[in-house]
Symmetry: C2
Subunit: 241 residues, 2 copies
DNA sequence: GAGTGGTCTAGACCACCCT
DNA sequence: GGGTGGTCTAGACCACTCT
């Protein structure tokens, strides 16, 4: 395995990181499973324990893996609450977390427009799956959501009768796709007549529009999601350093 | 200096980090200046170079300092463009960065309401400085902004005739206050008659409301800022991992 | 007690920056 | 050439987890 590591290129720990990410991506180690110990990885790859450690720590920073003292290193497994905690930035106005439910939802196959194709790195006209659903909190509708998926990555999903409430753990479990980072573009708009009806608002009420691209651990975009969110009693929270 | 480091408490590198942050905070090293080398810090504090390095690297992660190979370690200095790059998340719809200008601005002394006091960790009724200003892009008004500062931290600021366009580098230069992290709460609203007039919109047009708390390197809140932002051709960008 | 990751040390070599 | 941070190694001890 030493020959996979060439001298003089990028730092050793970055090369080790790439090898480990590749293995996770191809399923050598699956979500929830443990990786070999630092010592055995070091021996196998022909580098020192410290170098493996640095690679593992950068991966833990990106939450690709989780490390637990005394136990081992585990591939991050998406559970519904854990995904929610990580990628759902909407809180009640008083700061409490929300666990949204799902109301009625619809699914159809479509073809990617130029704009959608560009955002998901597809060719215009490639097949996409479009899901629209209404999300709820305490039985009140709060978010009108449109989800766009490349069909080639999610074959058979359109046959699924009832999609689960939280999708990212489902993507990982059923399609081996792990969402690792998302970019969200936020704007404000006012409710159309249709949105007002669905969200139980007056036409012209303000809505927060969250336009999200989600990518996997190799930075390939795998989902576009556009959410129209009421902010009467809700807010979107972002922290910057 | 070894006695400042007690055994058995938090990890050594965290204690080193605390000492260094404290020194930066009290002005032993000022923004833009270089810290001593790893070797001399290690010798002075009685720890190994590796421990100092770990402390410095975590501080660099939090951009309290900047490290340059071959040159040295520098206390992060806020420059107007650098601050903008870091804490201003608003882009043109096409993704281009914005460098906002400032239109008319007003300043007054006031007393903190309960809500403001809570957000800035003040006592209700403590004196605050309130600045309202209009921000522009390509000579068009885009943001209506209210800035609230604890007067005790910014004494004499109310006498300043013309406040600069970017404030965080000014806080650092004139008040030795370095903004290190911000939390932003986003909601949507519709323009009041007054806002519509100032921002050159129709009454009822959608606005993105950005309610920000900025804190210094010791996590003390030092500014509240509420921005009402048009999103016709603008968007707020957030990245999550 | 054995195995894991977390911390800490010590020393080597490299790449980069200055004079 | 001398000083800086960046990488890499090797080994020690500690804290935690499980059996």
């Amino acid at each position: 395995m030493l020959d996979t590591i060439k001298p003089d290129a990028r730092p050793l720990y970055a090369q080790v990181r790439d090898i480990l990410i590749e293995r996770i991506h191809t399923g050598t180690w699956s979500p929830g499973q443990s990786l070999p110990s630092e010592m055995s990885l070091a021996a196998e790859l022909g580098v020192s324990q410290g170098t493996v450690r640095k690679a593992l720590n950068t991966m833990a920073d990106d939450s690709i893996i989780e490390r637990r003292q005394g136990k081992g290193t585990y591939v991050t497994e998406h559970t519904s609450t854990q995904v929610l905690f990580k990628f759902f930035q909407i809180y009640e106005a008083n700061g409490n977390r929300i666990e949204p439910g799902t109301g009625k939802s619809k699914l159809k196959i479509n073809r990617a427009s130029k704009e959608v194709a560009r955002s998901l790195k597809l060719k215009p006209g490639e097949e996409i799956i479009e899901i629209t659903r209404l999300r709820t909190h305490n039985n009140n509708p709060i978010i009108d959501e449109l989800i766009i998926l490349p069909r080639k990555l999610f074959s058979g999903l359109e046959l699924q009768k009832n999609l689960p409430n939280t999708l990212y753990d489902f993507y990982q479990r059923d399609y081996a796709i792990t969402v690792s980072e998302v970019e969200e573009n936020l704007t404000a708009s006012v409710a159309t007549k249709k949105q007002a009806k669905e969200l139980n608002l007056k036409e012209g009420a303000p809505l927060l529009v969250i336009d999200r691209i989600a990518a996997d651990i190799e930075q390939t975009p795998i989902e576009r999601r556009i959410s129209y969110c009421t902010t009467d009693n809700l807010k979107y929270v972002a922290k910057l350093r």
